[in-house]
């Protein structure tokens, strides 16, 4: 091995070591997530925009609700809506051109594999449970709303109108239902067209790939949520490009927590390393000022002067 080759190999090894932890290991592996964690697959080609999922969600989460009939009102589709304090899920309608078949897209918390809200919370109010749900604990929340800044999907909402005990609100993946064998989230249960499918995330990804390969002309060859920001529990299939149906395709595959990890690490390191030169600078400054004191007041220590006199 000559020198050039050695350098090349050394550089390659260093590169792999530095980059490897980020690119080669998926979020799930490095986070040691439960391999049997759940997810929901949304096949937007099947959704008819009946909004029953919205009603069922409100019902289960005890949010203000209207009669099921009132959700047949199509006028809400005139605007693209987002989640709010008492609305954990919304269905939006997207129509590329006039006359084209409208696409209905349900929006709710994506329950990221490596959630931005969780890493942003300074009291650790968020938790990724073994079932896959990202849940929020209001008993420690201070209300800084940094989770809302950190969420790439703009999901967490805030009870701005509660002056004393406002909470962050979002979809819970019905963690209080799915842990019971055989029960599925409220929205999935009510869906009349099997747009929503609840199951193990790994099974759903397999199923989604099968659907795409069985109907290559029907689907875009991508499962939204399989890798987005490190992967999400909710997965989408679509017949039109995802950015046309309100799902951001510019968010990349890097988990949100990885954007701040490096900084936290370097601050901690820097604070320890930088402490030493600063401490020495301070010691030097103290010593210098003492020396100066002695020079400026030579007559002050009388006893010392006497001793010196004896010696001489």
């Amino acid at each position: 091995m000559d020198r050039r080759e050695f350098l090349k190999k050394a550089a390659a090894i260093t590169g792999v070591c530095l980059a490897g932890s980020r690119t080669n290991v998926s979020a799930a592996e490095s986070l040691r997530l439960n391999p049997d964690r759940y997810g929901v697959l949304i096949d937007t080609t099947r959704c008819i925009g009946c909004r029953r999922c919205e009603w069922a969600c409100n019902e289960w989460n005890k949010n203000p609700n209207g009669p099921l009939k009132s959700f047949e009102d199509k006028s809400v589709f005139e605007q693209v809506r987002r989640t709010h304090a008492a609305t954990f899920t919304v269905v939006n309608r997207f129509q590329d051109k006039k006359g084209a078949r409208p696409v209905y897209v349900k929006k709710q918390c994506m329950h990221c594999e490596d959630p931005g809200c969780l890493s942003a919370c300074f009291v650790g109010a968020f938790k990724k449970t073994s079932s896959g749900a990202v849940v929020y604990d209001p008993s420690v929340c201070v209300g800084c709303r940094y989770c809302m800044v950190a969420c790439p999907f703009d999901i967490p909402a805030y009870e701005y109108n509660d002056p004393i005990t406002p909470k962050v609100t979002k979809c819970t993946l019905c963690f209080d239902r799915i842990n019971t064998e055989g029960r599925v989230p409220a929205c999935v249960e009510i869906c009349p067209t099997e747009t929503l499918r609840f199951g193990r995330r790994s099974d759903l990804i397999q199923l989604a790939h099968e659907r795409i390969s069985n109907n290559p002309n029907k689907y875009v060859d991508h499962i939204y949520g399989e890798h987005e920001v490190g992967g999400t529990s909710w997965l989408y299939l679509s017949s039109v490009p995802f950015d046309k149906i309100g799902l951001r395709t510019d968010i990349g595959t890097k988990p949100i927590p990885s954007t701040s990890k490096g900084f936290l690490f370097s601050v901690k390191t820097f604070e320890i390393i930088a402490a030493w030169p600063l401490v020495f600078a301070a010691l030097y400054a103290v010593a210098k000022s003492r020396k100066k004191d002695r020079k400026e007041t030579p007559a002050a220590p009388k006893k010392k002067g006497g001793e010196d006199g004896k010696k001489q």
């Binding site: 890493s119 201070v142 800084c144 940094y146 009870e159 900084f263 930088a274 103290v286």
Partner: protein, 406 residues
């Protein structure tokens, strides 16, 4: 014995609180135009603060689920903390670099920083949904992966550092010699600790936005955000010391009788020299940052023009003007440039947290009048507190009863 050594309480109050006047005279002496303006602002602002606490964030702000942060974060906290970096800068120059000629800048800078931090946290209380849980990240529950957690701890520690640095002036005021000597000897260690902590949280305030790469405009978003915030905080510290010393020397002329004005001007130019270098470093870092993330294409868009206004008009221009001030020994120019720089720092923080944040969202944020009133009210409280302390304690001059060297 007891009676002879301690003056009665009423005379103590008269000396220390009423500036040696009777209560009536003291009240009369406070009937000034500036105090009338402060009072007017507070008469409006305090009920608005109460309104926020009673009715909540909904009716008192324009905050929404898409725009969770407004001017209470963008101006009160981000600008407030950056502009309170004067204590860090002067403390480091004086205690660690041994620049003893800046002696008279240290105490005002530390007091400004202390009040800046305290009132930034006070303003933050209005923004927090559950403000009464402020100590939670310290005692109840730890979010170790959060940059906000780092900031919370660093704020608490740094306010303690500033209290220690400021306390000699307090103990001189209440005439406790032993306490004064003890805390004075701690000052250099507090400064060392303060440098570490202040560097950590000034950069962390920029790092807050690292988690929002898809929301902050690419010209402002950068992996270098922490470094941008740290460097610009040093700039802000230097500029604020020039700006604030100019103002205080006018406002408290009475206390400055034995002041060497020629020396003051010379030292101001010295600070200007430092500010020029820091601004230029910051500017170059910004250019490299843009090159690194290759976001040149955005420069030729409306946001790009706004970005150029910020970094050419409020970073490069003041750097050049400070250099001119030093070259031509022009103190007036240096002082106006410091003001321009302070505006530039405010612009940068507002751009990062509000104007360039959610730049691609349809829903935009602008503050409600109540938000503006509370912001102005909090700043006014800070100014009143500064005035109250400077009128009583040896901040701008050396206390005659104590050794000035420290």
């Amino acid at each position: 014995m007891e009676k002879n050594s301690r003056p009665p309480l009423s005379s103590w109050v008269r000396d220390k609180i009423f500036l040696g006047m009777s209560f009536g005279d003291y009240l009369k002496s406070n009937l000034t135009l500036s105090n009338a303006i402060f009072a007017l602002i507070l008469i409006v602002a305090i009920p608005v603060m109460v309104y926020r606490l009673v009715y909540g964030l909904g009716p008192s702000t324009n905050l929404t689920d898409t725009n969770p942060w407004g001017i209470w974060i963008g101006v009160d906290v981000l600008c407030g903390i950056a502009l309170a970096a004067g204590g860090l800068v002067m403390g480091t120059m004086y205690y660690l670099f041994g620049m003893k000629e800046y002696h008279h800048f240290v105490r005002p800078a530390i007091l400004t920083s202390l009040l800046g931090y305290i009132f930034a946290v006070f303003a933050l209380l209005f923004d927090l949904g559950r403000y009464y849980r402020l100590p939670y990240p310290m005692v109840i529950s730890y979010g170790l992966t959060s940059i906000m957690f780092l900031i919370a701890w660093h704020f608490a520690l740094y306010i303690s550092v500033l209290l220690i640095e400021w306390s000699p002036a307090f103990f001189e005021w209440v005439n406790l010699k032993k306490f004064r000597a003890f805390f004075q000897s701690l000052a250099v260690w507090a400064t060392v600790f303060g440098v570490i902590i202040a560097g950590g949280h000034q950069s962390a305030l920029g790092a807050l936005f690292l988690v929002a790469p898809h929301k902050l405009h690419p010209l402002w978003y950068s992996e270098l955000l922490p470094l941008y915030f740290l460097l610009s905080a040093i700039v802000a510290g230097l500029a604020m010391v020039i700006f604030e010393s100019t103002l205080t020397h006018r406002a408290f002329k009475r206390q400055m009788e034995h002041f060497d004005h020629a020396k003051f001007d010379r030292l101001t130019l010295g600070l200007g020299k430092g500010a020029s270098a820091a601004l230029f470093t910051y500017f170059m870092l910004k250019v490299f940052g843009t090159a690194h993330s290759n976001t040149w294409e955005y420069l030729n868009t409306p946001y790009g023009y706004w970005y150029l206004v910020e970094i050419l008009g409020f970073v490069l221009l003041p750097s050049f003007l400070f250099a001119c001030g030093v070259r031509y020994q022009n103190v007036t120019l240096t002082r106006w440039t410091a003001f321009l720089t302070v505006i530039g720092i405010v612009l940068n923080r507002v751009n990062t947290s509000i104007i360039a944040y959610n730049w691609n969202a349809s829903e935009r944020y602008y503050p409600l009048w109540t938000e503006v009133v509370i912001t102005i009210g909090v700043i006014t409280m800070g100014v009143v507190a500064f005035k109250w302390i400077v009128n009583r304690m040896a901040i701008l001059y050396d206390h005659p009863g104590y050794d000035a060297r420290h």
